[in-house]
Symmetry: C2
Subunit: 213 residues, 2 copies
C-alpha cells in the first residue's frame, strides 16, 4: 500500500501528535463512516454538502445525477475537500476551555475524476452500495443501462489525505486538577435500531442476513 507523505495542506499543525498519515488509518475511518462532507469553492464562497459515498481501493467514490451540482463542480475542474468524521465521545474538563471531543476524522483534498466507462462505473456504484451495508449489492436490482447513463460517478484519490484523532480523557492544567467538578469522557456510539420493512415487503419475510447483522 502506497504511503503518501503529508503535504503542507494536509499536515496537522496545531496539535501535531493528533495527525496520522498512514493509509491503514485513513481507510479504516473512511470505511466506518456513512456520511461524507464534500466541500468545494464557488468564487470565495465554500459550500459543504453531506453525501453518501464508497471506497474503491485507494479512491473515494461519490455519485449524483448528470445535472447535479456536484457533477457541474467536478466537471469545471474545481478541487474537492472530502471530510469524514466519526464522533467517539464528549470530553468534560474541570475548566470550560478544556472541554473537547474525541473523534477520528479524515480530510482528503484533490481533483475528482469522472468515470465514464460503464463497467468501471458499475464497480464504483457497487462500492457505494456495499459501503452502506456489506452484502447488499447481491440483494438488490443492479443499475440498468439507462440508469447508468443518467448517473454521474466520480472518484477522488486518497493520495493527499490526513487523519486526525483525539482519544482519552480531559487534559486539565495542573492548577485545576483539585477543583470539585466532574471530569471525564462520555463515550458516544452510533447504533442501529430494528429495521422497518417497506410496505412492499411481506410481513412474514425473514430479514436477510445482511440486514439482520
Amino acid at each position: 500500500m502506497e504511503q503518501p507523505t503529508p503535504t503542507d495542506r494536509t499536515r496537522v499543525k496545531q496539535i501535531p501528535s493528533r495527525g496520522k498519515y498512514d493509509q491503514e488509518t485513513i481507510r479504516a475511518i473512511i470505511d466506518e463512516g456513512l456520511v461524507a462532507h464534500v466541500g468545494f469553492a464557488d468564487g470565495d464562497q465554500a459550500f459543504v454538502i453531506p453525501m453518501g459515498y464508497g471506497r474503491m481501493d485507494d479512491q473515494i467514490v461519490i455519485h449524483g445525477g448528470q445535472e447535479a451540482r456536484i457533477a457541474q463542480v467536478v466537471r469545471r475542474g474545481a478541487p474537492l475537500c472530502i471530510t469524514v468524521t466519526l464522533l467517539d465521545g464528549l470530553v468534560l474538563a474541570k475548566s470550560a476551555l478544556h472541554h473537547s471531543m474525541n473523534y477520528r476524522s479524515v480530510v482528503v483534498l484533490g481533483t475528482a475524476r469522472e468515470i465514464l466507462e460503464a463497467s468501471e462505473k458499475l464497480e464504483a456504484l457497487r462500492c457505494v452500495v456495499e459501503h452502506i451495508i456489506p452484502g447488499r449489492w447481491d440483494e438488490t436490482r443492479r443499475p440498468n443501462d439507462a440508469e447508468l447513463k443518467a448517473t454521474a460517478v466520480f472518484t477522488l484519490p486518497l493520495s493527499e489525505a490526513s487523519a486526525k484523532i483525539r482519544t482519552g480523557s480531559a487534559v486539565d492544567a495542573q492548577a485545576d486538577l483539585e477543583l470539585p467538578y466532574w471530569a471525564g469522557e462520555i463515550p458516544i456510539r452510533t447504533t442501529v435500531l430494528e429495521p422497518i420493512p417497506a410496505e412492499t415487503v411481506p410481513s412474514s419475510s425473514p430479514w436477510p442476513a445482511h440486514v439482520r447483522d
Copy 2:
C-alpha cells in the same frame, strides 16, 4: 422570530420538497447536532474542518486559538459555510440506485464576525459549553481573563440558512416493487455509553445530574 427568505444559494433545488427554511426547523437541527463541518475557500481549494460549536440566539458560535487557521480565515474576510448533519437512517431500496439515507441537515452561509468584547465573548463560550451538555457551565471553572484573551470567538448569523430533510422508507419505481429483495429503513441513533470519570475524580463521587442525564 425572523423568518428569512431562502436565497438562490440556499434554496434546495434537486428535490424541493426536502427544503425547509423556517428558523424553528433550522435551530432544532443545530441544537441537536454536536459537530459542525466548517468550510472555507483558499483560492479554488475548499477546506472542510469538523468543529464543536454552540448557538447564541440566531447565531452559530465557533472558537479557536488566536492563531488558529479558522481565526485567520475569518479575519481575512473569507465567507464560511457551516453544515450540521444528523443521520437518522439507512434506506434500502429494491434497486441499487434508489438506496438513500434519512437525514436532517442545515447549511449556513455568510461572513463570520469576531467577538472582541469580553462579556459577549464569555456569553458565547457559555453557549458552546452548554451545547455539549446543558447545565455544564455552572459545573466547570469559567475562563479567566488570560484564557479569554487567548481565545478567538466568532459568530455566523443564521440569516442565510436552509435545512434539508429526508424521512420515510424506500421510494422504488413501480416496476421494481415486486422484486424479491428486502426494502425498508434501518433507523440510526446516536447514543451515549456510561461516562468514564477522569483519574482526578474520586471513584466515590456520584455523577452530577447534568452528566447522569
